[in-house]
């Protein structure tokens, strides 16, 4: 959506066709694990754009008709219904799909994965009748869902393979802070636990069986164990893939006419210092804007700073930058009041800031981190670790350069 929107905004006047696997207007996904699950009535999807937008901008939206094959020589794609579309530029923005929990019983009623509108609608419809929930996975989706479930008065246990919450993405301080917040609201956590089976009572799930034999009663199970990139069509077309469609700094694949952006793209990330596939709104939106500039006017490298947010247990977590595991950290702000940030360093340089209810610090961090190596721990100490001040310095240095 962003790509199509930005193409027109950049003045691209050629044909733009969006091929969507889902039916209906493209919609916002973040609310699906949050407000969408609240009690009451039929929740509404939030469209990214109104129907009128497609008419005004002459963008073709093809619904519920994913591509099934790419003919790179002829520069054409085949759709599920057999239609064939020619292209001068093909962009994969196919996103990712939920990793399925591959254990006996996963097909029982009451077991849910959560990614798209259908998933969320089905889940919402079962929440009224549910009472005992097990969440498999203490990542962002699992914890946001756990939060919504607690808000609905449900009993919640979170079973996680790793040693801590959001282990892939956050520091131990943030893991611990959120574990405490969720626990205070009644969520039970089991860490270092695998799930080996789901048991049913007839057609519906009745318990989750852990690797150590422990049984967790559940009449509703939500699985949040990550996603896999939708790169199959690209791979079949002979493009390089491997945890995503491989692209260069221009977001271009090995084929001059084919590009990839968003959750499905593996790109060289200077902030991570390695090829990366990022799962976030920011990444999708910024890559789309950058690619639109490339396609409409001139080649533009993608180097935006990754940032991310999550809303859990009535608290806002915002993350700017990419951490180095096990680097030194430092906390600023007021932990007791629940408004603080964890500064994460890579030996000497600030590389990531995790903010809890600390939006100004987060926004300042984004300014600072946008330029790699712009702030060392020493330089921050000079301004007493006041990120707003540091951001001002970075901005003024930029202007002089």
């Amino acid at each position: 959506m962003q790509l199509a929107d930005s193409l027109r905004a950049e003045g691209f006047g050629g044909r733009v066709t969006l091929v969507d696997a889902e039916a209906g207007l493209p919609y916002q996904r973040p609310p699906l694990s949050k407000d969408f699950l609240a009690a009451g009535g039929t929740p509404e999807l939030l469209p990214l754009k109104a129907r009128k937008f497609f008419v005004d901008t002459k963008i073709d939206l093809i619904e519920a008709n994913p591509i099934t094959a790419v003919d790179r020589r002829e520069k054409a794609v085949t759709l599920a219904n057999g239609d064939r579309l020619e292209y001068s530029a093909l962009v994969f923005a196919t996103g990712a799909r939920t990793r399925r929990l591959d254990v006996p019983g996963v097909g029982l009623g009451g077991v849910h994965h959560l990614r798209n509108a259908d998933d969320a609608t089905r889940l919402h419809s079962e929440l009224d009748a549910a009472s005992t929930v097990v969440v498999v996975g203490a990542g962002f989706i699992g914890l946001e869902f756990a939060s919504a479930a607690v808000d609905r008065g449900l009993d919640v246990t979170v079973v996680e393979l790793g040693p801590r919450a959001m282990g892939r993405a956050v520091s131990t301080q943030i893991s611990e802070h959120f574990r405490t917040l969720h626990s205070a609201r009644g969520v039970r956590f089991v860490f270092g636990q695998t799930v080996t089976a789901l048991e049913g009572d007839g057609e519906r799930v009745s318990s989750v069986v852990g690797g150590d034999g422990q049984r967790y009663p559940a009449d509703l199970v939500v699985v949040g164990i990550g996603v896999e990139p939708n790169d199959a069509a690209a791979a079949e077309a002979g493009l390089r893939t491997g945890n995503g469609i491989v692209v260069d700094e221009y977001l271009r694949t090995d084929d001059d006419a084919i590009w990839a952006i968003g959750d499905c793209a593996r790109f060289p990330c200077r902030h991570a210092g390695a090829p990366t596939r990022r799962e976030s709104i920011q990444n999708a939106v910024d890559q789309a804007r950058t690619l639109a500039a490339t396609l409409a006017r001139r080649p533009t490298e993608y180097h935006h700073l990754p940032w991310f947010w999550s809303h859990q247990a009535k608290n806002k977590l915002q993350i700017a930058g990419v951490p180095r595991d096990d680097g030194p950290t430092m906390v600023i702000g007021d932990v007791a009041a629940g408004k603080f940030s964890v500064l994460r360093f890579d030996e000497t340089q600030l590389v990531c800031v995790e903010s809890v209810n600390h939006p100004a610090a987060h926004m300042a961090a984004r300014t600072i981190l946008a330029i790699p190596h712009s702030m060392s721990r020493e330089e921050l100490a000079v301004v007493d670790f006041d990120l707003k001040q540091a951001a001002k310095l970075v901005r003024s240095t930029e202007r002089i350069d």
Binding site: P30, P31, K52, K316, Q318, N357, M363
Partner: protein, 108 residues
């Protein structure tokens, strides 16, 4: 129903009739009004739904939260100390059955 007038920086105006309780951000995005983005979907986390409320409506606005206040310091177009608000935090309807706002030059 409530009426929202969006005044664009180029002089154009969009007028919308929306159900009571619709935020200015949601109204703009759902109805294809340019100049408001709402990247975070209305969570007061991105400052891309910045609006400048016309003087005659300032007295009817909900009070500004700490979070909104901090985010307004981060808008792409400089904040107006009196009139700047986040569009996702203002709902049309009730005391605001009519509201007019200016849209800033840029949201990003």
């Amino acid at each position: 129903m409530a009426k929202i007038r969006f005044h664009h920086s180029n002089g154009n105006t969009d007028v919308l009739e929306v159900p009571d309780g619709t935020s200015l951000m949601r109204a703009a995005v759902s109805n294809g009004v340019d100049g408001i983005i709402g990247e975070c979907g209305g969570q007061a986390m991105c400052a891309t739904c910045h609006v400048l409320v016309h003087d005659e409506y300032l007295g009817h606005l909900p009070s500004i939260s700490e979070d909104e206040d901090e985010m307004l310091d981060c808008t792409a177009t400089e904040r107006d100390s009196e009139r700047s608000r986040l569009g996702c935090q203002i709902e049309a309807g009730g005391q605001l059955d009519e509201i007019a706002v200016d849209l800033p030059e840029s949201q990003v």
